[in-house]
Amino acid sequence: MDVIIENLPAYVDGFLRTLFLSVVSGIFALIFGTLLAAARVSPIAALRGFSMTYVEIVRNTPLTIAFFFAAVVLPRLGVTFQQFEVAAIIALSAYTSAFIAEAVRSGVNSVPVGQAEAARSIGMKFSQVLTLIILPQALRTVIPPLINILIALVKNSSVAGAFYVLELFGYGRQLANAHGDAVLWVLVGVAFFYLLITVPLGYLANLVERKVAIAR
């Protein structure tokens, strides 16, 4: 137990790094994922094809491989960065956006057909139908699954610890090495800080889900 208190600064630093990675990647992934979902239902065949291929490939790739590409292959292409957080954010947002795209798409499908038909019958274009009618309604049903994807993102950020970023899990490994006699408590500490993010998010998801269920 003492080991957690003694190393509190390390835990807090790791926690903040994890939080930072999750928030920034989460924002990028939300934007890119929504665009992908819009492309998936758009009238332009090439966009649909691109979106589908991207989502299929990324969903079937292990995250570790995605990290390898971002941290090792990209620099070879001339995209170098001194901060490895950049690689982690690229990998995490590229990976997460595929899941977000799928969630948003199924949200779009959940909006009753009549809504789109009504919108079109009053002369709206595709972009208007999507942004004014479908997405705002879809978003309501999509929020709980989106939160779950973000929880997964927080947990996935732990992979960055093996790819040059010292975040919560990386600190955990470091402390576990330094305190071979108190490994149990070191890892309990790490778990606590992860739960500090994931459990409240989980409750939020449940709460929103119940609200949405009543509203429907």
């Binding site: 969903r59 070879r76 779950n148 997964a152």
Partner: protein
């Protein structure tokens, strides 16, 4: 099939769409070409780097890696599913002192990174890496399986359980012989989809030094030297995608088949329950 979101495109829209498609395709092709040419300039596509795949030992290693990956995934799945079933029944039990602790445990398991659980088992119980990987996967996935099955049970019409209880079945008997069979059948696509997740997560074994495909490839690249890093990793990535893609297809096939056969059809999980990773 036309979408409800937009009109059937007329000649002008079709032309615009075609031009857009061509421009997009050219842009993507250009980007790929740029990446490939930079890599080629570094000699990555030179034949002798890829000739490493003509060495039988390399394929033996890759084969062993695939077996290690699949065996960890298979064992974990076989343990996690029944465990998930039990956890699910406990989670929806009528008895509060079973239901509430189970719920806490499930929340805990779902909120933890899988790799942390593997690491925990590896260090605290000092197990072999294989056991750590399997244990980590079982802990996490049994919780997810439990949640998926629970979602399936809740998606059943209330009448199913009421009828079961009305003909004198105990609560447990109704769950077992009426609700579970329907729920599992309905949730089959999600359960298979979760298998893909499980399969992908075996690659986290890399971090706890379990010699699955990725780790084998890493060791091989270390041994052969940096020239072979890229070829070996490209092949590993391709193998992963191929395996996962096949399992995903299986999920889709089951979904199609199920929608014809299963009473009430398969259900798309309320997306909230779709586990990600």
């Amino acid at each position: 099939m036309t979408s409800v979101l937009y009109d059937v495109p007329g000649p002008k829209a079709r032309r615009v769409s075609l031009i857009g498609s061509i421009v997009g395709a050219v842009a993507i092709a250009g980007l790929l070409w740029w990446a490939v040419s930079i890599l080629a300039a570094q000699g990555i596509f030179e034949p002798e780097r890829w000739a490493v795949f003509q060495i039988p030992e390399v394929w033996v290693l890759i084969g062993n890696g695939i077996i290690a990956t699949l065996s960890a995934a298979a064992l974990a799945a076989v343990i996690a599913f029944p465990l998930g079933l039990v956890l699910c029944l406990m989670r929806i039990s009528d008895v509060a002192w079973i239901r509430i602790p189970t719920r806490i445990v499930l929340e805990f398991l779902r909120g933890m990174p899988v790799v942390l659980m593997m690491f925990f088992v590896l260090l605290v119980f000092a197990t072999a890496p294989f056991a750590a990987v399997v244990a980590g996967l079982v802990l996490y996935n049994s919780a997810i399986f439990a949640e998926i099955i629970r979602a399936g049970i809740q998606s059943l019409p209330k009448g199913q359980r009421e009828a079961g209880l009305a003909i004198g079945l105990t609560s447990f008997a109704s769950r077992r012989s009426i609700e579970l069979p329907q729920a599992i059948r309905r949730m089959l696509p999600s359960l298979v989809a979760q298998l893909v997740v499980l399969l992908k997560d075996t690659s986290l074994g890399y971090i706890v030094s379990y010699e699955e495909l990725l780790r084998k490839v890493q060791i091989m690249a270390d041994f052969l030297g940096p020239d072979y890093l890229f070829p070996v990793f490209f092949v590993a990535a391709a193998i992963y995608i191929a395996i996962n893609f096949s399992v995903s297809r299986l999920a889709i096939w089951i979904e199609k088949r199920g929608s014809k056969k299963a009473a009430g059809g398969v259900v798309h999980v309320p997306v909230a329950e779709i586990p990600v990773k």
